[in-house]
């Protein structure tokens, strides 16, 4: 049992190299294979990604680049392929063709879900998925950036620093009063926040957020926008949303996805004036 398998080792190495990265990234060169290399200021790069389900093209030669520290919104009608795009980035779905790179060197199409998580990509699902039987505190504990191999979790213990970090995130997501409640008993909005909190605990470089404010009150939505804006810069964010007021509040660049490829890209105001975008949204 205790022998390190290849998968484990790969996950471990990418973890180690991620630690090294912050030191020499600014110099741009001398990057070990598999380390996150942000030398061209691009954190995520998709090129000609195609995904078909029984002949139906959910993604059709999709190309997209996200800059380091950027906050990007992705909008588009239902079935445009937004969730499928996130599935490809996180290793859940393998593309039929095309390339997906995290930084300059990490080929996402070759890694498993846990490896991609270790490399520094966190994801929030469209439907909130949290551990309903665990308390909010435990949910955050499990998500916390740590060595996630069996032999470590068997003996892991919460240190004071860990508790402080969890308490900090609990305050950030306004769940400090609910720390010991089973997460299944939280309101829909609170579950969304908890999942965002889990993402923060992972300390990812890139956050993928699929419809994060669905089911939130206006007040909660506003706070979420504030939180995301404050995260941008230190992290890169890709936010999928239908709520235009929310997209406006985020204020980043907007990409419109339609039928599996990019239809338009630019400021929200620019995009909203685009004739093709209007057609897609109003023509149905």
């Amino acid at each position: 049992m205790s022998t390190v398998t290849d998968v484990e080792r790969a996950a471990m190495e990418s973890e180690d190299q991620r630690e090294n990265w912050s030191g020499n990234a600014s110099t741009g060169h001398v990057v070990e294979p598999g380390a996150l290399d942000l030398s061209h200021n691009v954190i995520l790069y998709l090129e000609d990604i195609t995904v078909s389900f029984d002949g139906f093209r959910a993604l059709n030669r999709l190309s997209l680049a996200i800059d380091v520290g950027e906050l990007r919104c992705i909008i588009g009608p239902n079935g445009a392929g937004k969730t499928t795009m996130m599935d490809v980035i996180t290793g859940k779905t393998r593309p039929d063709s095309g390339r997906a790179f995290f930084g300059q060197t990490i080929d996402l199409t070759r890694l498993t879900e846990p490896q991609i998580a270790h490399a520094g990509i966190g994801r929030k699902f469209q439907k909130p998925t949290i551990f309903e039987q665990h308390t909010a505190f435990e949910n955050l504990e499990l998500a916390m950036k740590a060595d996630k191999r069996v032999r470590r979790t068997l003996f892991a213990q919460l240190l004071d620093d860990d508790r402080d970090r969890i308490a900090e995130v609990l305050t950030q997501i306004r769940l400090d009063g609910e720390a010991d409640r089973p997460a299944g008993l939280l309101s829909h909005g609170q579950k969304q926040w908890l999942e965002i909190g889990m993402l923060l605990m992972q300390e990812p470089k890139l956050l993928l957020l699929d419809e994060p404010v669905a089911g939130m009150t206006d007040d909660e939505t506003e706070r979420t926008a504030e939180l995301f804006v404050s995260l941008a810069g230190k992290h890169s964010l890709v936010v999928v949303e239908h709520d235009m007021a929310f997209v406006e509040a985020l204020g980043g660049k907007v990409t419109v996805l339609c039928e599996g490829s990019v239809l338009a890209e630019g400021d929200l105001a620019e995009v909203q004036e685009d004739a093709r975008v209007i057609e897609v949204y109003l023509g149905r």
Binding site: M1, V7, A11, A117, G122, V150, L154, L185
Partner: protein, 409 residues
């Protein structure tokens, strides 16, 4: 700041648990051995050989139930093949017992009787080392562990889940049973192993030996409970339960479910193997029927009856069902399968959390103000905030509502 492991193991079982274990130890390590091996047979408190072996057998079943609960109750993986690991441990130890017979068998040969009967001239290669006690202990752990590891590796890596997994485990134990039925396999075919004489040179039928095996079974059970308790309260246990509830989320936060499942699965199989090894000398026989699919299903019934997801429930379930079984098989043997089926249906329909769940519900009813189920612990500020939000006309009693709802969930 870091707490040593021994202390953490100590803390993982609550005080009431340690007291219960101490009482249990006093009973199984002192009271029962004395009542069986020291008190004369005429004494009213004397325990017969039959009773001690029956209780010892049930202790072994309890270990299996705990092992089953760890993988089913906590990791959500229903195995319907755990009887196989139990039997493999039993066979591994049975080989040693067969070698210990020496020349006292009916054919007075160095070979076990069934091999002489088949006209074999020497031991098959895989019997090598079976005369060594330590080697046998190694086999008892390694054989079920290895079989489980290899099987689990392929099954979990292919992401086989739920009922498909359960069916494959049934097929596995069934296939193994057919294999062991064959005489050529070299494990005594149909009849398996029996007529054991000695362990480490001491007679297996002596009261002292019986009491020792009984006490060892109790020790194994207690060790399993303490270990199990540590596992399920560790972060490892929380990851395992998280995999049960939302596997994809677990993967996206960076855990590899394969390793977690495989570890728990293999450990569970090893515990079954150890139980099997203690079971065989106490009942005096092991044959392929231990691998029958029905046996494995029965293990799941024990856990369901007791209440899966609680270690105490698994122990209670194994005890209740097996005591009922030995009573039935004495009084109306032909009705046992029907009763077992009825029990399973009744528990599934009316007692989804088993006996432990029933007990908790009863306690919650008699004392509604103090729910026993992990109720949301309201921190002060939150409770206050809620009170502030209450319109003045609403009686203060309604503050309890959210807590009561939590208790039911």
């Amino acid at each position: 700041m870091r707490t040593p492991l021994t202390l953490r193991i100590l803390h993982s079982t609550p005080r009431a648990g340690w007291i219960a274990l101490a009482v249990f130890a006093a009973l199984t390590w002192i009271a029962v051995p004395v009542a069986h091996a020291v008190l004369p047979e005429a004494h009213p408190l004397h325990l017969s050989a039959y009773t001690v072996s029956l209780l010892g057998k049930i202790l072994c079943y309890m270990v299996v139930a705990v092992a089953m609960d760890l993988i089913w109750g906590y990791a959500g993986i229903l195995s319907l093949g755990h009887g196989l690991f139990f039997a493999l441990g039993g066979y591994a130890f049975g080989m040693y017992l067969m070698r210990q017979i020496g020349r006292d068998g009916s054919y007075q040969s160095d070979l076990p009787d069934f091999m002489v009967f088949l006209d074999w001239k020497e031991l098959p290669w895989y019997w090598a080392g079976s005369d060594s006690f330590l080697g046998t202990l190694l086999l008892v752990v390694a054989v079920p562990g290895l079989v489980a590891f290899v099987f689990g590796w392929f099954a979990f890596r292919s992401r086989i889940k739920g009922v498909y997994f359960s069916i494959i485990t049934q097929a596995l134990t069934y296939a193994a049973m057919l294999l062991f039925f064959r005489n050529e396999t070299g494990f005594g075919g149909n009849n398996g192993f029996t007529d054991f004489k000695r362990i480490l040179g001491y007679s297996i039928t002596s009261p002292e030996m019986r009491a020792t095996l009984f006490a060892l079974s109790a020790a194994l059970l207690m060790a399993c409970l303490v270990l199990g308790r540590y596992l399920v309260t560790s972060r490892f246990g929380r990851v395992l339960a998280a995999i049960r509830d939302a596997e994809s989320r677990v993967m996206f936060i960076g855990y590899n479910p394969l390793h977690y499942k495989l570890f728990m699965w293999t450990l569970s199989a090893v515990l079954c193997g150890l139980a099997g090894a203690l079971y065989v000398p106490q009942v005096g026989i092991i044959n392929p029927s231990e691998m029958s699919p029905a046996n494995s299903i029965e293990i799941a019934v024990w856990v369901a009856v007791g209440g899966r997801g609680t270690l105490v429930g698994a122990v209670l379930g194994a005890g209740i069902v097996n005591l009922a079984k030995s009573w039935f098989t004495m009084s109306f043997p032909e009705y046992w399968p029907f009763f077992l089926g009825f029990l399973f249906i009744a528990v599934t329909l009316y007692l989804p959390d088993g006996v432990v769940g029933l007990w908790r519900r009863l306690r919650a009813r008699t004392a509604p103000a103090t729910p026993t189920v992990p109720a949301p612990q309201q921190s002060k500020p939150q409770a206050e905030a809620r009170r502030e939000m209450q319109p003045a006309a609403v009686p203060i009693e309604s503050n309890r509502l959210p807590a009561a709802k939590g208790a039911e969930a």
